[in-house]
């Protein structure tokens, strides 16, 4: 794609900008920031990846993966405001998910040990784990309000914190995995996923693109389950005071 053609893609932002102005949505500032950020971030990543792909050095790959985990943790952690120590637990959950997923992919020789495979697949796995963590925390916040009576009844009957929120955790884990599972059910029928589309646009055969997409979808299923379960087990105690009573969360 030429630079001129890339410039023309701003037309799409202009459409959104116009709609926001016309309907008084007040999104102009956010759109502007989003446009600048996505362009700058992606261009920067493009340059970084070009350098990384050339060097193919395991240390640099590891560093990039760690930065991805850090950013994902920071972003998902904002959903857990008021829960002291949530960032560490999200970080451990995403790190473990990435390690298990990548370990299986490399160990079973599904993908080769090259930067070109490791970075994009890690990015997608970590991104999905981030979304799952956010969904989990959002749902758990809702549960501690709507099912507070249920949890406190169990506490009043002498339940441990884990016993008191067992059903709340289960429902939150389920809720955080549903988008991934729904995505598996409708992929290809409702939407063509970004990676597959990208590969096809870049000239790969659709069948090749589909194979990698299947890999990604299956890896997502396990990474969603792993992240969510790990995060629920590592963080359930944070919803309680040191007295083992349920904290009052905002929202």
């Amino acid at each position: 794609m030429s630079i001129v053609a890339l410039g023309f893609t701003l037309v799409f932002v202009a459409v959104a900008f116009f709609i926001s102005l016309w309907q008084k949505l007040g999104l102009e500032r956010d759109l502007f920031v989003g446009t600048v950020r996505s362009a700058v971030q992606l261009l920067l990543v493009g340059y970084v990846l070009q350098y990384v792909f050339k060097s193919n050095h395991p240390l640099i790959v590891g560093l990039i993966v760690l930065v991805m985990i850090g950013v994902a943790t920071w972003h998902a952690g904002k959903r857990g405001e008021g829960l002291r120590g949530i960032y560490l637990r999200i970080g451990i959950s995403i790190f473990t998910t990435e390690a298990v997923t990548l370990g299986l992919l490399l160990g079973l020789k599904i993908i080769p040990f090259t930067t070109q495979f490791i970075i994009p697949i890690s990015g997608m796995t970590i991104g999905n784990a981030m979304v799952v963590s956010s969904l989990y925390l959002n749902q758990m916040k809702r549960e501690t309000v709507s099912a507070r009576g249920e949890a406190e009844t169990l506490l009043a009957l002498g339940a441990s914190p884990r016993q008191a929120v067992h059903d709340l955790l289960k429902r939150s884990v389920r809720a955080s995995m549903i988008p991934t599972i729904d995505g598996m059910k409708t992929v290809g029928l409702v939407q063509l996923p970004g990676m597959m589309t990208g590969m096809i646009v870049a000239g790969a055969s659709p069948l090749d693109a589909v194979r990698y997409q299947i890999l990604i979808m299956f890896a997502f299923a396990s990474s969603a389950a792993l992240t969510s379960i790990l995060l629920s087990l590592l963080s359930y105690r944070l919803w309680f005071t040191k007295d083992e009573s349920l904290k009052v969360m905002d929202g």
């Binding site: 009576g149 249920e150 406190e152 009043a156 009957l157 002498g158 016993q163 007295d243 009573s245 349920l246």
Partner: protein
């Protein structure tokens, strides 16, 4: 005799702002005590009970179980000794039987089905099929089931937050009789929050009044209001 449950200098602020709900609240509970907590709405009676059950934390003050500070006992251990029945009877998912068995499931102990059956009969729920969904019961039935469920925990102190408010007079009396028998058989202590003065006279031997942001004891029932 030493108190089983005692609390000193409890202070609680209103959620959201920093206004004092109550301050310098102290008291002692002995085996066999039957205490009614009276006071106008908004004085913090329910909050006090929740603090005693360690479901809410006080900003200041201390709780003791047989002289041991509450901080030295995990919440779950505390709550097996100090039972709590809330005003809104919350049914756990599942059947009536699931609810009755909740204590045995949580603590991995045998289900005392004979006591459960006996108490369900006494409280006027003997006719219910235990396989019915507990959440389908009426408000009064839920409140009575919640009471029996808490009795099966066999706590040494039972905190009752208007635990018979949804009951008609006949069922209220049945619940009072059951609680009275249960308390006497176990030498347990009962603390009732109630708005019903007649009920306070029937069920209590001691009266705590919550007014002017603190708690005081009325040694004679006739002295109340």
């Amino acid at each position: 005799m030493d108190p089983i449950l005692s609390f000193h200098g409890l202070t609680k602020k209103m959620p959201g702002d920093n206004k004092i709900l109550f301050t310098n609240v102290s008291g002692e509970v002995f085996p066999n005590d039957r205490i009614a907590v009276l006071g106008a709405s908004g004085q913090g009676k329910s909050t006090l009970l929740r603090i005693l059950a360690r479901l809410t934390t006080a900003e200041d003050g201390q709780l003791f179980w047989r002289g041991t500070p509450s901080g030295e006992l995990p919440g779950r251990q505390w709550r097996t000794k100090v039972g709590y029945v809330s005003q809104q009877a919350e049914m756990l998912p599942g059947t009536i039987e699931d609810n009755l068995q909740s204590v045995s499931r949580l603590h991995k102990i045998g289900f005392d089905s004979s006591s459960a059956k006996e108490w369900m009969d006494e409280i006027g729920l003997g006719h219910l099929d235990w396989q019915l969904s507990a959440r389908e019961l009426s408000g009064g039935e839920k409140q009575r089931l919640a009471l029996v469920r808490s009795l099966l925990l066999k706590p040494e102190v039972l905190l009752l937050d208007e635990a018979t408010a949804a009951l008609d007079e006949t069922n209220k009396r049945a619940a009072e009789r059951l609680l009275d028998d249960w308390q006497q058989n176990r030498q347990a202590a009962l603390i009732w929050v109630t708005h019903d003065l007649e009920q306070a006279h029937r069920v209590a031997s001691r009266i705590w009044s919550m007014e002017d942001h603190t708690l005081s004891e009325n040694f004679q029932l006739g002295a109340v209001h």
